[in-house]
Amino acid sequence: MSSNDVKLRSKSGSIAAYSALVYIVVIFFAILAIIPFWYMFMNATWDSYSIQSGIKLWPNFAHLGEQVKANWAYLSNRSTFSFALGFKNSILITVSSTALTVYFSALTAYGISVYDFKGRKLIFTIIVGVMMVPTAVNITGFYRLMGSMGLLGTRWPLILPAIAAPNTVFFIKQYLDTSLSKEIIEAARIDGANEFYTFNRVCLPIMVPALATQGIFSFLGSWNNFFAPSILLTKQELKTLPLMVSMLYGDRYTDYGAIYIGLSASVFPIIIAYAFLQRYIIQGVSAGGVKE
């Protein structure tokens, strides 16, 4: 009996030691994940010289407001970086492409899920197949097409293709298959609603949870997109925030405070949004993995 007791105690003891180790590792990686952003934000409050002469892990309490203002002013003076412009361009492109992605993916997923038309299985298989196609390989063809359509130098090449988002269609379709009951559609039909009215007014509200999750991912994808904009948006007045951030590099007249405030400004909105939406984002990532 007593020997059993000892065994148990030692076992719980070793588990405690084990979980302590686990905690240490987990906390280490959690800190590793956020420390760069912390460092970015802290450096944004210091002047260039201080940043380069010591690692600053705390804010510049003494001159917080004025230094941030000074850095910001320095940053705004650059011809290549305008936060307001970049933010506006990013928002314009991202919001419109997200809206298109969400609405049309819902439409497509609904079409495949609800109507038993000829070839729908094939279409769905193709959609699943093209999810795996690397998206960047068609860039030369895409660029020439945009040129011949006269869309180069506009935002449209980054917005219009959002209508066809195979990933989003796939996930919404999976959601519809499990959560949409045909009775509701039947009922709407009996009430005399036409098909588009049924979709827009009756079914779309039911899809909101799935649309929200997919909307977040589509938004993030578009917001962080760099490759296509870097090729398609060459005019300064159209450049999105990531492109402007990228210009922070190519400058040999470096003011580090200005660079860090520029980086921070581009990261800050995402972190704030993430703080509120992280639960949905992580659920979305989990769902993506399991359903595949």
Partner: protein, 812 residues
């Protein structure tokens, strides 16, 4: 009742299904248009060559203007009887005036001389005279360049102002230009050498020249200051002789020897850099008139061996073309210099310090070149972007004003500046005005061009007809000769006859093609945007040309390596963390917060993260430096220039990938583990399995589909890697790959981007598309391969797991 509702619904149900097509129509149309069609055209482009990108197309309404600009009728019609005038009725002088106009406009386009910001800087900050200031201000206000263009004094003053400004970037580009010229000279000399042998200077010439004698005399009797003496002693010591005179006067001195070259290079400015104990003094060349010729000799003889590999040379050409931008970070400039040096394109130099009475190389041997460069940069570099632009602006203005085309028009009495646009846009209306002024408005019309085009087609067609007949006449003889050769069995003869036969055959094919599609003048102009189908030529270029193959294979290698090295720790850590996070025995708290924190990097813009890491690791030698260098200082390690070291750059990319993605993988794996039935674990626990056994026997096999998904998606993403390496180092240092220099962190997409959309004036869309197609095919093959490999094992594993579960159930 039931019947009542059922019947219409069934009836309607039939027609409802059609709505499905309506609902998916937008998706299908947009997908086909914006994804599928570009993909197919990319395949098509991979089989084409774009002829030239000089021409920009501005619509059908001004098509003749487009031809005006890009057709050089003088050239085309030189081969015809009667020349330009006889054939076309176009006055040659007028036509040349038009060409001069375009030449001037091209210069104006190229440089965009009115950069208001740059000119404003001159107005605000320079010490120019008030009159000039007022005129520059007028140019800014009105956008009319003629205020200063017509005033020689103003231009002289501005040029004077700009020539006093030293900018290292410009200086280096200029000196690289000189080096390039030297290399060109070398190539010419080598060529003429093989022809006549008279032009090249030989070693014999140098050693027996009067100048060499006077050089020796200078060495023996000349007076040198302390620094020069020290340098000469140092070099003599290095050569193992008592004095430099001994070295140069020796019987067996060889001009070809490395040491000879080394000494001369270090005697010549500005490669001799010397630091005394008191401060820094640079030692200039030992002034000998002989040096000029020596340099010419060295250029002629050393360049041909220093730049043996064509790829090094073309890489170097990129620097001069501006494809690799020297106008970035000071630090980057520094790296570029070192790269040039690694390629043997900069004369080696050492930093010397005085120890007692002698000069010795600085103890910091590895950084010697860097240190010297650094010193040079620090003492010459002025950080003023706008001022640099102003200077460039003035230079550009001078270029425009001195342009031969413009001069010609001014001499002919045209107020040319008022017909040129300076904002980089070609103004069709201004041009048309000009065209009618010189009397070509009614002559060069679309109808006229079409007429000329037809004439030319007829001409070529006729010519080809003649060629065809001649070739066909030769065919029977060639065939007979070949047959005869085959009969004799002599291999050499067969080969020669075969070659002759195929030559005749290709003449016939060419002539037939020309008859089918004779090229007119318009086709020549249009071909600037035309894609010529060349079949598999782009692919045979990639696989057949050793240089091209190495660059493409190197990009694939770089991408794959950077993905794999990042992916392995990513998947391992994700497996470990997901095991811990789902381990019910541990009862960890606060996990959702930890998960959220670890996932955070994945939602942040990759470009931002890359720029941040760039700053974090950047290198400088002074007090002011980056965080990682400070950490190195703190642990007492020498500072490391990560972005010069190819593997360091790659590893930073790998780390960023790992750091951004392990959280994502972890969450996917956690989801996978939690979806595994609880009962499996319970029964395993009852059977006394420990955590490790449960993990390897139950979790891992059942997790396989998820691992497959992670592997495939990560691989597809990894092969398309772009944002991080691109932003981390836009001008990566070079590394040898299979004998060719490649950019150490250039991924496949970066290469595609450089070819198709890069700064070079020649866009290689065909090759870029071919590389894209290879990427597409490779990704597809790998995905399918992984999928099938893993699926077979899955099937086995799933069966095993089921058996295990059944067994466990039975035991209970």
């Amino acid at each position: 009742m039931a019947r009542g509702t059922n019947q219409p619904s069934r009836h309607k149900g039939m027609s409802y299904t059609k709505f499905g097509y309506l609902f998916i129509a937008p998706f299908v149309i947009v997908y086909c248009l914006f994804s599928l069609y570009p993909l197919l055209t990319t395949f098509w482009y991979s089989g084409t060559v774009m002829q030239s990108t000089q021409a920009a197309f501005w619509g059908f309404s001004n098509r003749e203007v487009y031809y005006d600009r890009y057709l050089d009728l003088t050239k085309i019609y030189d081969s015809f009887d009667g020349g330009l005038e006889g054939q076309t009725g176009i006055n040659t002088t007028d036509y040349k005036n038009m060409q001069a106009y375009f030449a001037a406009q091209n210069k104006a386009d190229q440089y965009d001389p009115i950069d208001p910001e740059a000119l404003q800087y001159i107005v605000d900050n320079s010490d120019i005279s008030e009159a000039t200031r007022a005129k520059v201000q007028q140019v800014i206000d009105t956008g009319d360049i003629s205020y200063i263009a017509s005033d020689a004094d103003v231009i002289a003053e501005l040029s004077d102002w700009s020539s006093n400004y030293v900018d290292l970037g410009i200086t280096i580009i200029n000196s690289l230009g000189k080096v390039n010229n030297a290399a060109m000279t070398a190539a010419t000399v080598a060529e003429s050498d093989s022809d006549s042998g008279e032009d090249a200077i030989t070693a014999e010439d140098i050693l027996t020249s009067d100048q060499y004698a006077s050089f020796l005399d200078t060495l023996q009797t000349g007076e040198f200051d302390e620094g020069q003496t020290l340098l000469m002693n140092y070099l003599a010591d290095k050569a193992g002789v008592a004095s430099l005179y001994d070295f140069f006067a020796a019987e067996d001195v060889s001009v070809e020897s490395d040491m000879y070259y080394y000494i001369c290079a270090n005697l010549d400015s500005p490669n001799a850099v010397y630091t005394s104990e008191e401060g820094e003094t640079s030692v200039n060349a030992v002034a000998v008139p002989f040096m000029a010729d020596l340099t010419a000799y060295l250029n002629a003889n050393v360049w041909s061996t220093t730049v043996p590999a064509i790829n090094s040379y073309s890489e170097f050409q990129n620097y001069i073309d501006g494809e690799i931008d020297l106008h970035s970070d000071e630090e980057q400039l520094y790296a570029d210099l070192e790269t040039l040096n690694e390629m043997g394109l900069i004369v080696p130099c050492v930093q010397l310090v005085q120890e007692g009475d002698a000069l010795v190389p600085s103890s910091n041997v590895a950084n010697n070149i860097l240190a010297a460069m650094r010193q040079y940069i620090d003492s010459n570099y002025q950080s003023d972007e706008i001022k640099t632009n102003s200077v460039l602006s003035i230079n550009a203005l001078n270029n425009y004003l001195n342009d031969q085309g413009r001069t010609r028009l001014v001499d002919a009495g045209f107020d040319v500046d008022s017909y040129i646009t300076f904002n980089g846009d070609f103004d069709v209306n201004k041009y048309i005005e000009f065209k009618s002024l010189i009397g070509l408005g009614d002559v060069l019309t679309m109808a006229r061009y079409e007429e000329l085009d037809q004439q030319m087609r007829d001409f070529y067609s006729e010519q080809a007809q003649g060629n065809l007949e001649t070739a066909q006449g030769k065919l029977p003889d060639a065939q007979a000769a070949y047959d005869a050769a085959v009969a004799t069995g002599d291999e050499e003869a067969i080969e020669a006859a075969n070659e002759a036969l195929s030559r005749v055959n290709s003449e016939i094919t060419n002539a037939e093609n020309t008859i089918k599609r004779p090229s007119g003048i318009l086709e020549k102009a249009d071909s600037s945007t035309e894609y010529l189908f060349v079949g598999m030529n782009n692919f045979s270029e990639i696989f057949g040309n050793k240089y091209r193959f190495n660059v493409v294979a190197g990009a694939f290698y770089t991408t794959a390596v950077m993905w794999i090295i990042g992916f392995i720790p990513q998947i391992l850590l994700a497996l470990l963390l997901s095991a811990w996070f789902t381990d019910t025995k541990l009862k960890l708290k606060g996990l959702s917060v930890m998960k959220a924190l670890m996932y955070l990097p994945n939602v942040i813009t990759a470009a931002t993260i890359a720029i941040f890491f760039r700053r974090l690791f950047s290198y400088s030698t002074g007090d002011a430096t980056s965080a990682v260098q400070m950490l190195l200082d703190a642990v007492g390690h020498e500072r490391i220039n990560f972005f010069i070291n190819p593997w360091a750059t790659r590893l930073i990319v790998c780390f960023i990938n790992f750091w951004m993605w392990y959280g994502n993988t972890m969450i996917v794996l956690i989801a996978g583990i939690t979806s595994i039935s609880e009962s499996l674990y319970e029964s395993a626990q009852l059977d006394g399995a420990n955590s490790f056994q449960t993990y390897t026997k139950i979790t891992m096999p059942l997790l396989r589909p998820i691992l497959l998904y992670t592997l495939v998606t990560s691989m597809i993403g990894g092969l398309q890697m772009y944002d991080i390496p691109f932003n981390l180092n836009q001008y990566p240092s070079l590394v040898a790959f299979n004998g060719t220099y490649i950019k150490c962190s250039q991924t496949v997409l970066m290469y595609v981007n450089q070819l198709a959309f890069g700064k070079s004036s020649i866009k290689q869309v065909g090759i870029a598309s071919a590389v894209s197609v290879i990427l597409f095919i490779l990704t597809t093959i790998l995905s399918i391969l992984i999928f099938f490999m893993m699926r077979d094992r899955d099937a086995a594993a799933a069966a095993k797991a089921k058996k295990l579960a059944r067994k466990a159930g039975g035991n209970r």
